[in-house]
């Protein structure tokens, strides 16, 4: 066992998968350049020394080029891992992801697979409207894409490895405040969710959620950074006698619906936390599922703690207002009692 940050765990997953399968390669902006950071957040740092520039492929600043090459290579039998420096730039490659990669398998009657991995950092980190969005809901809405969102080093490595081996396009959302709080590329206010990561081979299966904290009074479903915010809120609430169960679905598509439903059947109350904008969001979908399938078990309205329907603001003061924090989660939970 080694203690690792999420960035380190992701790097190890890439290294292991590239060693295991020579069809696996990385493609992105400044991911292997000499003297560079190893991508925007150091995940690919040092990989070009082992695998060379043919497998750690630097591109011009063109997300369309990255997506086009990666999707084409995947269709031709390679297993590309593409990197967008900021998830916000996924919008540049929307046609290729939504219209081509996601639909190819359906349109070809299963003859063409697109085993693509698209790694996309998200989250508000004082970088303003175009570099700090949370885009999960856009991609959970597109049939044909799988979407994972690891919140720990263990899950980051295990899920990335599963994504590489999956024959479908998988979007891996990584939160910028979870890569680690040390090093030249750490974001201000970042957490250091350093976790035990086995040296040996393991996979975290896509589609399995996990209970981060057990409780009997209220279920909080959260992902990425908000898992930590929810756990902090649970501590506060525990002191008030409210036992919170925190569920991290880890995979957004396909969703571990049963885990959430079982928890709500136990607690009778549900709060969903996300950093994404409220309207038409992922939290809304979870709420709809529970209202549909566990209605008779609910003892209170379902609450969403989401960002308001505005772009992420630049100013740190406004951003603090914008993001769901511990205080907002506590307030939402208390409103159910």
């Amino acid at each position: 066992m080694a203690k690792m940050t999420i960035a380190e765990a992701l790097r190890q997953a890439l290294r292991e998968e590239m060693r295991r399968d020579e069809r696996v390669f990385c493609i992105g902006e400044d991911i292997g350049i000499e003297g560079g950071f190893g991508g925007a957040f150091t995940v690919t740092l040092g990989l070009s020394e082992e695998f060379g520039h043919d497998r750690i492929l630097d591109t011009p600043i063109s997300e369309i080029a990255i997506a086009g090459v990666a999707i084409g290579a995947a269709m031709a039998g390679m297993r590309p891992i593409a990197d967008v420096q900021y998830g916000d730039f996924l919008f540049c490659m929307m046609d290729q992801l939504a219209n081509q990669a996601a639909k190819m398998r359906y349109m070809s009657g299963g003859q063409v697979a697109v085993p693509l991995v698209m790694r996309a950092p998200v989250g508000a980190t004082a970088r303003g409207p175009q570099h700090a969005q949370s885009l999960e809901a856009f991609f959970t809405h597109i049939p044909g894409l799988k979407v994972v969102a690891p919140a720990t080093a263990y899950d980051a490595k295990g899920l990335l490895k599963s994504a590489v081996r999956d024959d479908n396009p998988v979007i891996v959302f990584e939160h910028k405040l979870l890569y680690g709080s040390k090093g030249p590329r750490s974001e201000r206010g970042a957490l250091s969710p350093i976790g035990e990561v086995p040296e040996e081979e393991y996979l975290v299966p896509i589609g399995e959620g996990i209970v981060r904290r057990e409780g009997k009074d209220v279920t909080i479903v959260a992902k990425l950074l908000t898992v930590y915010r929810a756990l902090a809120a649970a501590e506060v609430l525990a002191r008030q006698g409210i036992e919170v169960e925190v569920i991290d679905p880890r995979t957004l598509v396909p969703l571990d619906k049963e885990l959430i439903l079982a928890s709500v059947r136990k607690t009778g109350r549900l709060v969903i936390v996300e950093e994404d904008n409220l309207t038409g969001g992922w939290a809304a979908e979870i709420a709809a599922i529970v209202a549909d399938e566990a209605f008779m078990w609910l003892d209170a309205p379902i609450k969403r703690v989401s960002a308001p329907d505005v772009p992420p603001p630049f100013a740190p003061v406004l951003e603090r207002e914008y993001v769901p924090d511990e205080e907002k989660i506590v307030a939402a939970v208390l409103s159910l009692f």
Partner: protein
């Protein structure tokens, strides 16, 4: 063709009546015109006839409930006819909530439309548990978010229910039949259900100290009406009784002389008939006594309709002699006798019981000297008449034997003061003591 059974409009003043009893059960054949159900008006209990021939297919209003005039209380149809679905009787009447329910607003303070004023707001989880445990949500106190009933509230209710011992249905019936308060009954073992044996044990204890041989009798519909109206009268009115002794010697002589002149065919006037005549004349002069009230205003009546209390097997009824001030003694006697006969045999109608402006009640025939009668609402006064007895009295400054009686006037002090009531009583007394004044024009000759 289905026919709706509705409550007929039997009174000008009443919007609701009590449905006392159905005379047929659902599924029974009914014939147009045969008595179908009994209602209680403010005047009497009445059989209401079936509006159609067919099968009584549906009963909407349960006995004992208050129903609006013209409202639909049931349906008659042919056996195989599909009848329109409507609100049916509830399987169990829901008791009143343990706490005032939100009425004008719902959760979050939104105004509620009138038809949802009594809606109970409970979480799905609370409803689920309540259904499982057979809890009536109306009995549960809401403490959840937005004042809704949540699971915890139902659990608290169940806890309380467990703390209070359960009662077997038989035990409950036995207790109800003998009028035993179940909270005074202790189960044999703590936490066990109260059984019939527990009730009988408690009963034995009570009977050890209670008078033996109590027979519990259900109140008849008429009795219930009387009970309700007497209680209402005493709650709503400030009742004061004035009592005055009267020398009725002249009236007794007058009556004897009149009786001597009557033929076999004539109805012999009773003292009550003289009193109705005298009181009616004086009521005409005292409009505030000849009145009714709705609690807010007083209605002074131009006409004088004197109700006379009649003791019947079913209880007290008060048929009304209409326009008594305008009728001669023999006519009054004839009319009153007929009313009494119909009251006694139960054929009296609401019209004959309604519209009185004053009541006379006479207990003299039963040997009572004086008493404090209770006003017959919506009237504002009542005259109680005692027996006429031979007694020593001072008459024209000499001690002699006279025919004396007491009159007791109860009036509603909310509307009549003591002095005007006393003046009315004095005027009545004056005509009894000097019946020859009846020949004069009362309004001018009597101050």
């Amino acid at each position: 063709m289905a026919v709706d059974i509705t409550i007929p409009p039997l009174s000008q003043t009443m919007d609701t009546v009590i449905l006392v009893q159905w005379l047929k059960a659902v599924g029974d054949e009914v014939v147009n015109g045969e008595p179908l159900f009994v209602i209680e008006t403010d005047k009497a209990n009445l059989d209401v006839e079936s509006p159609a021939t067919g099968i009584l297919r549906r009963i909407i209003a349960e006995p004992g409930t208050e129903v609006k005039v013209r409202s639909k209380i049931g349906v008659i149809a042919s056996p195989d006819e599909i009848i329109p679905q409507g609100p049916g009787p509830k399987p169990t009447p829901e008791p009143k909530a343990a706490q005032p329910l939100p009425t004008a607003t719902g959760p979050g303070g939104q105004p509620l439309p009138p038809e949802q004023r009594n809606r109970i707001f409970a979480s799905p989880r609370a409803r689920r548990l309540a259904q499982q445990e057979e809890v009536l949500l109306a009995e549960v106190t809401a403490t959840g978010p937005q004042q809704m009933i949540v699971e915890q509230d139902v659990r608290a209710y169940l806890e309380a229910r467990r703390a209070a011992p359960e009662v077997t249905p038989v035990a409950r019936r036995v207790a109800e039949a003998v009028g035993l308060n179940l909270t005074t009954v202790v189960p044999a073992r703590p936490g066990a259900r109260i059984t019939r044996a527990d009730v009988e044990a408690a009963l034995a204890k009570r009977e050890a100290v209670a008078p033996a041989g109590i027979q519990w009798v259900d109140l008849s519909p008429t009795r219930r009406t009387i009970a309700r109206r007497m209680a209402e009268s005493q709650q709503a009115a400030a009742e004061v009784t004035l009592t005055r002794e009267v020398d009725a010697t002249e009236l007794v002589h007058l009556r004897e002389r009149i009786l001597e002149e009557l033929s076999e065919r004539d109805r012999r006037p009773a003292y009550n008939d003289f009193l109705v005549s005298i009181v009616a004349r004086q009521l005409k002069q005292h409009p505030y006594v000849n009145a009714t009230t709705n609690g807010e205003r007083i209605g002074l009546s131009e006409e004088v309709h004197v109700a006379v209390a009649v003791d019947t097997e079913r209880g007290l009824v008060t048929p009304v002699v209409r326009n008594a001030d305008q009728k001669g003694l023999l006519q009054l006697a004839q009319e009153r006798a007929e009313l009494v006969r119909r009251a006694l045999d139960g054929s009296i109608t609401p019209e004959e019981l309604g519209g009185g402006t004053f009541t006379i009640t006479n207990l003299g025939t039963l040997g009572v000297d004086a008493f404090t009668p209770i006003i017959n609402p919506p009237q504002v006064a009542i005259l109680g008449v005692g027996r006429i007895r031979s007694a020593p009295a001072v008459h024209k400054e000499e001690l002699c034997v006279r025919q004396l009686m007491y009159l007791s006037l109860t009036f509603n002090h909310r509307f009549i003061d003591g002095a005007p009531a006393a003046r009315f009583l004095a005027d009545v007394v004056r005509l009894i003591e000097k019946p020859h004044l009846l020949w004069l024009d009362v309004s001018q000759s009597i101050p």
